[in-house]
């Protein structure tokens, strides 16, 4: 899928998030996000994949400023949103960005009705008239496939898929232009996953959203995203159009990740070979410093100079064969 207006809505540059604990000799430092740079364009779905602990959730949460970056910049529509948190900046971020969480049970307050959960964002934004708020809640409920009767109920009365719809309604009621969905379907049953993905796709086009989709299920990411970034231990190791990434993965970690996805096909699945990845033997970075390089237009790989040449050659032979 080609996005016409290649207008970046979000620019992340050399972002680092460090968590530290202890002091003195006991000090432990975790580089959760370690120098990540990328852009998200207006109207696209940007997928972010990686294993648990690779920093993908930290990255998402830092963009909406639930965490503060240690260094680096985040620009949203050209405005730097990585600086010190002020009342005005918080307002700006919450006006423009929203987040959909993974667990539809934990992320909804069990003591609040659906109406209260969804309208909280409106209250914060100073919409005082309860009737206006009610109308807006009814409106968004119908958009996410629920009815106005649902507004007075409590979260426990809903199934997992319906709860995730409530979570989506809560995120979208403030009319954000950019939504970060952190594993929105991984806690759902397979048959319900498809409903939620279709819903998010519909809302994306009717509301003109830009979505950052964080997940570990690579088939779902491939289906849902225009471009995909692969994270490994805090670093973005590969970034490309989703079709290109899955057809032609270059970084050894991406290759091992793709080879590990079980496919619903018993004929090929039983003989599938998985590629294992060990960073210690796969790269020799003692002489050359690795960085994110563009191997062909739009396809970036984290590699050293000699690896770059190898990837580039492979890319050329592929292109000449096609």
């Amino acid at each position: 899928m080609q996005i016409d207006s290649r207008q970046p809505i979000l620019e992340v540059e050399n972002l680092r998030v460090v968590f530290a604990s202890g002091r003195g000799r006991k000090r432990i430092q975790v580089n959760a996000v370690d120098g990540v740079s990328f852009e998200i364009y207006q109207g696209e779905t940007f997928g972010l994949v990686g294993e648990s602990g690779c920093g993908k959730t930290t990255l998402g949460r830092t963009i909406v400023r639930l965490y503060s970056p240690t260094s680096g910049t985040i620009r949203f529509r050209g405005r730097d949103v990585s600086g010190p948190m002020t009342k005005e900046l918080r307002q700006y971020i919450t006006d423009n960005m929203a987040m959909i969480f993974q667990d539809p049970v934990e992320s909804l307050n069990p003591r609040m009705t659906v109406q209260e959960i969804i309208e909280e964002g409106l209250k914060v934004r100073g919409i005082k008239d309860p009737e206006v708020r009610q109308e807006m809640v009814f409106d968004i409920l119908s958009k996410v496939g629920l009815t106005r009767e649902h507004a007075s109920r409590f979260p426990h009365e809903f199934s997992g898929g319906q709860r995730q719809r409530i979570g989506i309604a809560r995120a979208l009621i403030v009319k954000p232009s950019f939504v970060i969905a952190d594993e929105p379907v991984s806690a759902l049953d397979v048959s319900v996953q498809a409903q939620i993905i279709n819903l998010m796709n519909d809302l994306k086009s009717t509301l003109g959203l830009t979505i950052m989709f964080i997940a570990h299920d690579l088939s779902v990411v491939k289906y849902f995203s225009d471009r995909v970034g692969v994270m490994y231990y805090g670093k973005l190791v590969e970034l490309a159009d989703s079709g290109e990434l899955y057809r032609n993965p270059l970084h050894p970690y991406t290759r091992s990740l793709l080879s590990a996805i079980p496919q619903p096909n018993p004929l090929t699945e039983r003989h599938r070979e998985t590629i294992s990845y060990d960073p210690a033997t796969a790269h020799d970075y003692s002489a050359e410093k690795p960085s994110l390089r563009e191997v062909c237009p739009g396809h970036f790989v984290y590699c050293s100079e000699s690896e770059f040449e190898r990837y580039f050659d492979r890319q050329q032979t592929r292109a000449s064969m096609a």
Partner: protein, 348 residues
């Protein structure tokens, strides 16, 4: 498929739970067969009764559960009639179990080694020293490096995949013939999952295990299963070899489930299943899937379909297989995918 002798036979099993809001009919007349040396997968969504079925086999149902009817035949014994004492000789020794969450199935305060030797010492046939050696060997067998040092460590010092290996080692400690895996890789990353699945397959070969594998991930089913049982609303709605189920699914639920999962080639709108699984407090009459099936006929809502025979290995409980039923088309996405699979081009 192996046409070996059956090692475990479940016949017409029904299990209900007594709750404050009423009786939940979790399993409603389930029958299946596990042959020696094969892996069967039970596929279904949460609430379909798959976990309750295996808990019944292991005799670890909570007190609120009642076995309404049915038998579980293992080596001539009916497991549903056993006393707790007799069960203690079956559990772990004859039938091993691996749970979903490797963190909560290990004791965080006990060293890994003791958690394995504990299982070995139950039978009082080994000295502590022998048990230690056997445990270290087991740790090595499940692919844990430096087993001697790892023996002295606590669960928190292990990663998720390594913990699941330890759980597998414990399950295999008493050399069971049947291994039940209840979503053993759901909590793990894909690369780790691939390694654990390969490990289970390897151990199956080496130890001649018969495996009941429970999962909702159809990719995992395709990787593991010799035969597949599809469960919906407490019943088995279709079963057959993996090829039968993936290439010629007959029950509307099996078809819808397969069609709703995106694979690497999926484009366009996903074929989602409308609605949600039924509430088992009020189990549906007729075909449980009928309310979510756009091709449902009147009879689907009224009368429960019997198992129709499709081939020697493949059976499905749906009225659409009745000779006088109209032909129901396969969902487009699925027809297309099956065509690709048969041509061998569905994967890279």
């Amino acid at each position: 498929m192996k046409t070996g002798e059956s090692i475990l036979t479940v016949d017409n099993l029904s299990v209900s739970f007594r709750t404050y809001s009423g009786i939940v009919k979790a399993v409603r007349g389930v029958s299946f067969e596990l042959n020696k040396g094969e892996t069967i997968c039970i596929v279904g969504e949460s609430g379909s009764g798959k976990s309750v079925t295996v808990k019944t086999i292991m005799g670890i149902l909570p007190p609120s559960a009642v076995i309404e009817s049915g038998t579980i035949n293992y080596k001539g014994m009916d497991l549903t009639k056993l006393t707790e004492e007799e069960y203690a000789r079956i559990r772990g020794k004859e039938i091993g179990l691996i749970f979903q969450d490797p963190l909560s199935s290990l004791n965080p305060l006990m060293k890994i080694g003791r958690q394995i030797t504990e299982a070995l010492l139950i039978d009082k046939e080994m000295s502590k020293r022998e048990a230690r050696e056997a445990a270290i060997e087991l740790l090595g067998a499940v692919g844990i490096r430096d087993p001697e040092q790892r023996f002295e460590q606590y669960p928190f010092q292990f990663s998720g995949g390594m913990r699941q290996r330890v759980v597998i080692a414990i399950a295999l400690a008493r050399n069971p013939e049947v291994l039940i895996c209840d979503e053993p890789t759901t909590a793990l990353d894909v690369t780790v999952q691939a390694r654990i699945l390969n490990l289970i397959n390897e151990l199956k070969q080496k130890r001649q295990l018969s495996i009941i594998f429970i999962t909702h991930d159809l990719g995992v089913v395709a990787h593991m299963a010799d035969r597949v049982y599809v469960m919906y609303a407490g019943k088995i709605v279709e079963y057959g070899t993996a090829e039968d189920i993936f290439l010629e699914p007959a029950h509307p639920y099996a078809r819808a489930l397969l069609a709703s999962v995106p694979d690497m080639e999926t484009e366009g709108r996903l074929a989602s299943i409308p609605g949600a699984p039924p509430n088992m407090l009020h189990p549906p009459t007729g075909d449980g899937f009928a309310p979510r099936n756009k091709y449902a006929m009147q009879i689907d809502f009224e009368e429960e379909p019997p198992m129709f025979r499709i081939s020697d290995t493949h059976y499905a409980a749906t009225w659409s297989l009745h000779p006088s039923a109209p032909e129901i088309p396969m969902p487009d996405v699925l027809r297309e995918r099956i065509r690709r699979m048969k041509e061998g081009g569905a994967n890279r």
